[in-house]
Point group: C2
Chain length 205, copies 2
């Protein structure tokens, strides 16, 4: 009873939103210390000082919490990429900057903090919804840059747009997908420039 | 004493070469059942019916045995690639065939048998000598095809040969390096064709 009393939101208690944020923040910290795979919702509840049932009022499962952490992380990457290409007039430069920002942010978020790698890896391996949405978004960004480059005359127009986009996406993927990037960290500096140049040669009119 | 007597080669016993082959074959089987990482030389000795000291007469370490298994496997891939490009007149076709054979053989040897993945992964992660030699060889094959395509006028000549080679090698690598390929198996069918086309567009004069 004591537990329920202290953990059930009081009438003047924090909003649902604040509690969700609290759970996600505590979970992020806990996962980073003990690993996402090994942590159960019971462990999380104990660490936060909530009852397990209380956490389940806000999140259906551990994965549901992981998905929020993962989505926050992927949103940060997309934001960095959008900022890197904003206002850049040449499609070729946008492609270079997009690739570089994608890799830099992925390295920073997944590996330098080391905080989010375990979740990112689970998300990528199990194809969680935020990962699918993110991949669609990155692919869409590539398509948009290629299309604009074609319209401005910077890029060739013979190859079907969809084919060119898929091939470019596949070329970039080993450097932003966390499962692949973990084996490519020593190339994260040089690969984006080298591969951007190859991609741009393939797009030459 | 009994053990030494039964395991030391008799004067008319099998040749060193035959014993080495026997150790490697038994080790391949044992690793595939129990995993490379988890197996010790003692386990191997027990499984083969040799003394540990006797195995050490032929191989310095578990890794030395793993390296032979790994080298045999990589030699088989190189052979398949060489056969795939032999006598093909166009450099573009040679590049396509090389890429496809490289991926098909890697999938077959590392994953379909599942026999060799654990060793291949350890070899790739720890950069064993046969892996380094193999990577140099594959890179050399790419360089040779690009150079010949330049000489015959099929490919452009502006990009430094070394830069073009490195970028092409990097594009292919996620589909033949076992650590990367494990996450790319669902793309192993379509990626070589799609990426070969992108590479060939980048090589257009």
């Amino acid at each position: 009873m004591t537990e329920t009393t202290t953990t059930t939101p009081a009438q003047r208690g924090p909003s649902d939103h604040a509690i969700r944020t609290q759970i996600v923040e505590a979970a992020t910290k806990h996962f980073s210390l003990y690993g996402y795979e090994k942590t159960t919702v019971s462990d999380l509840a104990k660490a936060i000082g909530f009852s397990k049932a209380y956490i389940y009022k806000f999140y259906d499962s551990k994965q549901a919490i992981g998905e929020v952490i993962c989505a926050n992380c992927l949103t940060a990457i997309v934001k960095a990429v959008d900022e890197a290409v904003a206002g850049v007039p040449s499609a070729a430069d946008r492609l270079r900057r997009m690739f570089r920002a994608l890799v830099e942010e992925s390295v920073r978020l997944f590996f330098q903090d080391r905080k989010l790698y375990a979740i990112a890896a689970a998300a990528a391996a199990e194809r969680w919804p935020p990962v699918k949405a993110y991949e669609v978004h990155v692919r869409q960004l590539v398509l948009q840059i290629v299309r604009e480059g074609r319209e401005s005359g910077e890029f060739e127009r013979k190859t079907p747009l969809d084919e060119a986009t898929s091939a470019i996406y596949l070329t970039m993927r080993p450097f932003f997908d966390p499962l692949l990037l973990q084996h490519n960290l020593d190339l994260a500096e040089e690969a984006p420039a080298l591969l951007s140049s190859l991609i741009l040669r393939s797009l030459a009119p």
